[in-house]
């Protein structure tokens, strides 16, 4: 957990000054602006932010799944185990995608193909990446379904996604993502569509498998509770930029960025009896209307005129904490 050596040999993933734009009818719009981070081996890192902050675009960029056009990486590089992913040809990328980097999406219903059986869809991963026969793939699929806690795997193999509940579908997604025992798992809001009791099951499952496989995880979520319980380190994103990075304990003990503190105090917590919740006024600016300087200026109670004109960069505050805010210069 050292910020001083971002290219340390233990790092699985290293994102360096990534800048992503989309071309629209109104011209080029910067969606992700100059973000850098790394993920160490066996580490669970959380990426927190509200809708439209660019967290999913970042995840998709790592998998190279953003459609281009309209999206394009303006500059920046993404290193996976030292290799620059962005310079790979599509063939080599296919070898990494789903094999060495797995991904789980938010909505299991739309990410599974309704016209193929569960067995076929999990088996596909094995057939593509290991080049094994249908029969062998079937055996491995049964093993995998068992591993993610789907009972009666033989029977489930024959079923179609619509016959499964939301929780089971998400387990199938996890089976697909982990089939090849990837070194890195990207989980984009993996439990948002699920009920709390099922969410608890899925998070437990992810944690168990993560430590069994010693996998690195990039967990994208808007839920601070999930992040607090699951992650080792956290990045907070706002309007396309990372505004705060810290170890999970440090972030929740001592949140610095006004956006982070605002997020933490504005969500109701159990056992807290306040009549009115503290609010962050206004709303997230759309990517075309972010303005200049610090994008949080208009909603920030501590902002000055200076913030509106100068963009703050991430600066270290202590050894496990970085924040992009002029109040901490």
């Amino acid at each position: 957990m050292q910020f001083t050596h971002p290219s340390s040999s233990h790092s699985i993933l290293h994102v360096d000054s990534l800048h992503i734009s989309f071309s629209t009818n109104e011209g080029r719009i910067d969606v992700v602006e100059d973000i850098s981070f790394f993920i160490g081996s066996g580490e669970i890192v959380g990426l927190v932010g509200e809708s439209g902050c660019g967290k999913s675009v970042t995840a998709m960029a790592i998998m190279r799944l953003n459609p281009s056009p309209p999206s394009s990486v303006e500059y920046g590089r993404i290193f996976f185990k030292g290799n620059d992913i962005l310079s790979l040809d599509e063939g080599s990328m296919r070898h990494i995608r789903g094999n060495r980097i797995g991904m789980i999406f938010q909505e299991p219903m739309t990410s599974l193909n309704p016209t193929f059986t569960i067995g076929y869809q999990v088996g596909e991963v094995f057939r593509c990446h290991l080049g094994i026969s249908q029969n062998e793939a079937n055996n491995k699929t049964v093993e995998m379904l068992d591993l993610v806690g789907i009972g009666g795997a033989q029977r489930r193999m024959e079923q179609y996604p619509h016959e499964l509940s939301g929780g089971l579908r998400q387990r199938v997604m996890i089976a697909i993502a982990l089939a090849c025992r990837p070194e890195l798992l990207i989980a984009d809001e993996p439990t948002t569509a699920l009920d709390v009791t099922v969410q608890a099951q899925i998070l437990d499952l992810l944690r168990t498998l993560q430590s069994e496989m010693n996998m690195s995880v990039l967990l994208i979520s808007h839920d601070l509770g999930i992040v607090a319980e699951t992650c080792d380190r956290v990045f907070v994103m706002y309007a396309g930029r990372i505004v705060e990075k810290a170890s999970v304990v440090e972030l929740f003990r001592n949140p610095l960025h006004p956006y982070t503190t605002g997020l933490m105090s504005s969500s109701p917590r159990l056992g807290q009896s306040k009549k009115l919740l503290p609010m962050i006024p206004g709303m997230v600016p759309s990517p075309s209307q972010r303005g200049t300087g610090c994008y949080f200026t208009d909603r920030c109670s501590k902002a000055s005129e200076y913030c509106r004109h100068k963009t703050p960069t991430l600066e270290a505050v202590g050894d496990k904490h970085q924040v992009a805010c002029w109040n901490y210069k």
Partner: protein, 318 residues
């Protein structure tokens, strides 16, 4: 004083897809809402909480039970009287995208209830509409714009303005903040709390989010598979959850505190198919404290609270 709303043994069946069995979405639910009170209804998807809300104002026709609103029997009202009654109870829905007509201006949307109920002339309606926009924190120029120009949070404000137009006594809010981002959620929750005081409203607040329900409610009812398993004053319920399901539900919420040692009860399995509910207590296949009797006998409602408002529970453990 009699309660504002009294629901007794409300039951709603839906015909099953294959016609052979009925699906019981709401099963003998009783609920009391006093004037000025917020009653929260929590439960996971498919537990019948939305059906309950809609059955109370007869957006679904209940099959059994009674609903008394201000001592009037809602279920026996004629069409015209029912419409009058609905002036007093309004509803806000989860999806602020789906519940606004995309071809009407915000002004027309907020004014529509006044038009339907023939209140005021054009000029007074217009004035009222502007006032409603102001109360709910929208700009005056919103009146001439269309829903697609607004964000989710603002659309929910529009829905709230429309619900307030007829000065109802009660609002049934069905997951009003679930589709919103965290920072917007708190704005809408605060608005609802503020309006409650200003207009002396009562709420039935339906949500799957326990923290939100705890924050807004005076009284909470926990639903599982169509039935209420536990009802208690909010503080009582959250400090002393008695039903194993309530306990598991509360403990399953991830807390934003990385140092907290978690004692989580991870429930096995998922909510059973309501077309084919388990025998006895509906929760028994997932219950960590299941006993033999749970599998055969449906638990009766018991009051384990200290006073009359009580702490009602349906569980064989008590």
């Amino acid at each position: 004083m009699n309660p504002l709303l009294q629901v007794r043994n409300l039951t709603k069946h839906f015909p099953s897809r294959y016609g052979s069995r009925n699906l019981t979405a709401v099963k003998a639910v009783s609920l009391t809402v006093n004037a000025g009170e917020t009653v929260g209804i929590v439960g996971e998807s498919g537990c019948g909480k939305s059906t309950l809300g809609k059955s109370i104002i007869r957006l679904f026709e209940p099959d059994e039970g009674t609903v008394l609103f201000q001592d009037k029997d809602v279920l026996s009202l004629e069409k015209r009287a029912l419409r009058e009654m609905r002036r007093e109870i309004q509803m806000i829905f989860q999806d602020p995208y789906g519940s606004l007509d995309s071809r009407m201006t915000i002004g027309a949307i907020v004014e529509e209830p006044l038009v339907i109920h023939g209140i005021g002339d054009r000029a007074t309606r217009y004035k009222k509409m502007l006032r409603l926009l102001e109360i709910t924190g929208l700009e005056q120029d919103a009146a001439n714009r269309y829903p697609h120009e607004f964000s989710g949070g603002q659309r929910q404000r529009i829905c709230i303005a429309r619900a307030l137009a007829l000065r109802p006594k009660m609002i049934i809010a069905d997951e009003p903040v679930s589709a919103l981002d965290v920072s917007i959620q708190s704005q809408i929750l605060n608005l609802l709390v503020d309006l409650k005081e200003k207009f002396d409203l009562s709420y039935i607040f339906i949500s799957h989010d326990l923290a939100v329900v705890e924050h807004v409610s005076d009284h909470v009812a926990v639903m599982y598979l169509g039935g209420i398993v536990e009802t208690a004053p909010t503080k009582d319920l959250f400090t002393r959850p008695c039903h194993p399901y309530t306990e598991a539900l509360i403990k399953a919420i991830p807390q934003p505190d990385p140092l907290r040692t978690r004692e989580r009860i991870v429930l096995q399995g998922e909510i059973p198919d309501p077309e084919n509910p388990p025998s006895g207590c509906a929760f028994h296949p997932r219950c960590p404290k299941v006993m033999d009797i749970c599998k055969t006998a449906t638990p009766e409602e018991k009051n384990i609270g200290v006073n009359e408002t009580g702490h009602l529970i349906r569980c064989h453990l008590y």
